[in-house]
Subunit: 204 residues, 2 copies
Amino acid sequence: MPGSSFSALILIADGTEEMEFTITYDTFVRAGIACTSAYVAADEGESASPGPIIATGSRGIKFLPDVLFSDINQIHGTAKFDALIIPGGAKGAATISECAGVQALVRDYIDHGKIVGMICAGSLAARTAKLPSQPLTSHPSVKEQLANDFLYSEEPVVVSGKLVTSRGPGTTFPFALTIVSMLLGPDKRKEVAGPMIFPEGTPW
Amino acid sequence: MPGSSFSALILIADGTEEMEFTITYDTFVRAGIACTSAYVAADEGESASPGPIIATGSRGIKFLPDVLFSDINQIHGTAKFDALIIPGGAKGAATISECAGVQALVRDYIDHGKIVGMICAGSLAARTAKLPSQPLTSHPSVKEQLANDFLYSEEPVVVSGKLVTSRGPGTTFPFALTIVSMLLGPDKRKEVAGPMIFPEGTPW
C-alpha cells in the first residue's frame, strides 16, 4: 500500500513527555499517516509572541511544532484529520486537557467516529472533555483523578470504541501500533514494527 | 541518590532517527544524567548560517539542539562528558559517522575509558573511527558494512568494554537503560524503568 490518505493531529505543549510524542509521531509516519504537531499554549497570549514556536518537553528536549493549535483549530475544525493524539507529561497534559478548544475537539472527534488517542496523563482529557464513562487507562500517577468517572483498567492499551488510552513511555509503541492497526490493518502494523527491531519476546 | 554528576553528549543531525535520540536523552535525564544534544552539520558551512540550529529527524520531527558539535568539540574536547551517544537514522548516521571530529572523539572516549553508545546505523561510527574488531550490533540494514570488521551479534544490546551498541528504535529502551546501569548501577535502572510502565513480560 504506497502511502495512505490518513492523517493525525498530535498535540504538544511545554512539559509534554517527549518519548510519548516522538514515538507516536514517528511510528505513524512510518505507517504513511501524515502527522501534524500542534502547539497548545499554556497562556493564550503566548501564541502572539514573535519568533518560532518552541515546545520544551518534560525532560528538556526542545521541539519546533508544525503549527499552533489555535490556528489549526480555527482553520480546519474537526474536518481535516483522522486521529487526534494527546500525549502525557504532567505539565503538558494539564495544559492540553484544560484547553477548551481541545476539549471541544475531543468531543467532536468521538462524535464523528474518529480516533482519539490519549496516553499517560493525557488521559485526563477524557475527563475534562466530559466523555461518558467507559474503559480507560492512564499513567498510575493520575489514576485517582479518573477512577471514579471511568471503568479504570491497568492494561497497557485500552480500546473503547474509537477512544484509545495507554499508560506511559513504556506502552507508547503498542499504543501507536494499535492505532496504526485500527486505521490501516494488522498487516501494516507488522510491516511498521518489523524494521524497528523489537527484542525477541517483546509482548506487542 | 539526589542527582548524579554524570553527563552525556548526544549527537544529532538532519535525518537522525528521532525515537532513538529522544528515548536515550529522556531516559538519561530521568536517571539524573545531564544531557547535551550537539548538532553535527552535514556541511561545515551550515553552522555559520543565522537563526536557530534546527535538526530535522528522519520522520520529519524538528528539534532545537542544545549546541553545535563544532563549538562544543573545540571548547570541551574530551573532558566534559561521561558518555557519547550516536543515534541512527540512515542519513543522520552517515553525517555523524563521516565527521572527522566525531571519529576522533569516539577514539578519545574509548581511550579514556568513557562510554560510547551507538545504535542502529549509528554503529557505522565504530568502523569510520577505526575501532578494533570486537563484539558489536547494528540495524540489520547496515550489517553488511560492519560484519567483516567486527564480531557481529544480533543481540538487542551488545556491551564490549565501554562500547555499547544496539539495533533500532525497538531496542532503544534497553540500550539507554543498560548505559544508566553502567553509570549508576542496577538500582537506578529499576528506579528509572518503573514509572515508564513497560507492559508485563517486556524483556528488559
